[in-house]
């Protein structure tokens, strides 16, 4: 597939208030350009899904939203990501501050080898929370729909939980900090269908308070949970581009780009 030209992209501007505005974002790892000129707006307190075949750059994109890609050496970024009139990539912006306000859930649940309580309290401690940590931990576990299952064993090692529980623990850990935006990089791909369903329910609940961006390779999941969907595709140069961005129903029922339609109907990817 050849790389799309600018006039071929169909990007919708959401009517809801803005959470993130991504402008001409490009990411390089060393010599290889992973994504090129991505531009779109993520609405606040909605779930936005990023879909596309593997290698299209969706993970790179979501990690660039909270500057996590910088952990890879030789990562370089051009463009801007605006959050509340702050360019996350301005030279004066501290990435530590960015990540504290934009949380991330990873594909494979990664609780620390500490107790359940300490996992959730971790972010609170390092960011100098002044209130009562125990109360905040309990609130976070409630919001992550995990409290009832762990309330009697808060001191137990987090690794004794099941995969689905661990992922919900990671969500609790992230929302304990009350981030404005929650990024989720394929949060259910390592989980069984029952656990997946619970996380999807949780996501819908959380979307009432937080802005959620989710990367998923599962189209059905995207169509189930998200309000807006972005479709990405990489050309022969293996550089990912944003092909189409629209409200989920429109993207899936009336895709405007030929490639989007091909992907949705399974002809590619």
């Amino acid at each position: 597939m050849t790389a799309p030209t600018t006039e071929q992209r169909y990007i919708v501007e959401p009517s809801e208030p803005r959470a993130l505005r991504i402008e001409r974002l490009s990411v390089w790892y060393g010599q290889h350009q992973a994504i090129r000129d991505v531009t779109f707006t993520i609405p606040a307190r909605r779930i936005t899904a990023i879909i596309g075949p593997s290698g299209c750059g969706k993970s790179t994109l979501i990690r660039a939203l909270n500057r996590m890609h910088e952990l890879t050496p030789e990562a370089r970024v051009e463009g801007a990501v605006w959050w509340e009139n702050v360019n996350l990539y301005a030279p004066s912006t501290d990435p530590v501050w960015v990540r504290r306000h934009i949380g991330m859930i990873f594909q494979k649940p990664n609780p620390f080898p500490k107790s359940i309580f300490e996992n959730v309290a971790f972010g609170l401690r390092i960011n100098g929370y002044r209130g009562d940590i125990a109360t905040r931990v309990e609130e976070a576990l409630h919001k992550a729909a995990l409290w009832d299952e762990v309330k009697d064993k808060l001191q137990q090692n987090a690794l004794t939980l099941s995969g689905g529980q661990q992922q919900r623990l990671c969500i609790a850990r992230a929302i304990a900090l009350e981030p404005q935006i929650l990024l989720m990089d394929e949060p259910c791909s390592a989980l069984d269908p029952v656990a997946t369903m619970r996380i999807e329910d949780l996501m819908r609940d959380l979307a009432r308070t937080y802005t959620i961006v989710i990367v998923t390779h599962n189209m059905q999941q995207a169509s189930r949970v998200s309000h807006y969907t972005a479709f990405m595709l990489a050309g022969e140069d293996r550089t990912g581009e944003l092909v189409e961005y629209a409200p989920t129903r429109e993207l899936f029922l009336r895709p405007r780009d030929r490639r989007t339609e091909d992907y949705i109907t399974g002809r590619i990817g």
Binding site: T93, D94, V96, W97, N127, G128, Q180
Partner: protein, 298 residues
Amino acid sequence: MTSNELYSGDREFRPRLTLRRQLGALFGILSTIAIVVGLTTLAVLITDVVRDGWHVISWDFLTSYPSRRPEQAGILSALVGTTYILVLVAVIAFPLGVAAALYLEEFAPKNRLTALIEINISNLAAVPSIVYGLLGLGVFVRTFMLGRSLIAGALTLSLLVLPIIIVASREALRAIPPSIREAGLALGASPWQTVRHFVLPAAFPGILTGTILALARAIGETAPLITIGALTYVAFLPGSIFDPFTVLPIQIFNWVSRPQPAFHERAAGGIIVLLVVLLCFNAAAIFLRARLQRKIRF
């Protein structure tokens, strides 16, 4: 963005970003200092030794026997002794070590005996070298009645470096992908034939490198040889493997232990020779591995 009180939620936190960043930078500096201190010590050590002993190095130094007079003292007997010991250790320890590694890596069943052998080898790698000397003294010098001879020293050192050769060889064997063994078997070769003709040649560079490094370790060992009775003042060359001997590190030790500064300089000279020999060994190991790995690709 320097202001981090953007939201009401933020007033509940005291992020102290600047302080945390500064602590991180401080720690980075400390780590660097630790590494630099280590490297500096090495540099100072080598410089000091070279400075002390450089003028001592001469053809006479390399070809004279030790003497009561420091100006005439040389390292001939020590060099010769080291060479003999090295050859003997290579002849004894290399086949034993590779054989043991082959057994453990390719043929050993997973039972208690194998586990016991493996635990033993790990333990032996951590036994102080002087204990090996006591072993050599009790078993080789006394029980086998070999006396304080080259062969007793070689056997003792062989036992000392055996775990190194075994571990290095096992690593080399483990690095060979299973597909090579499967290919050999699929072609009808027996397990031994597969190992002998397919696996061993491919693992050979790694095994050789490990052996050379083990021998380099053996060259520098002093304590076990002193314990089995290697002499510190040897003004002759050993005629057979049953003769007494000395080695370079022991000669250095002997000279350092004397009060006269002139002997200390001789010791420094000996150290330079020793370090050069070690450098050659390590260089040979690296060179051989690079060379052989290019020939045998998989």
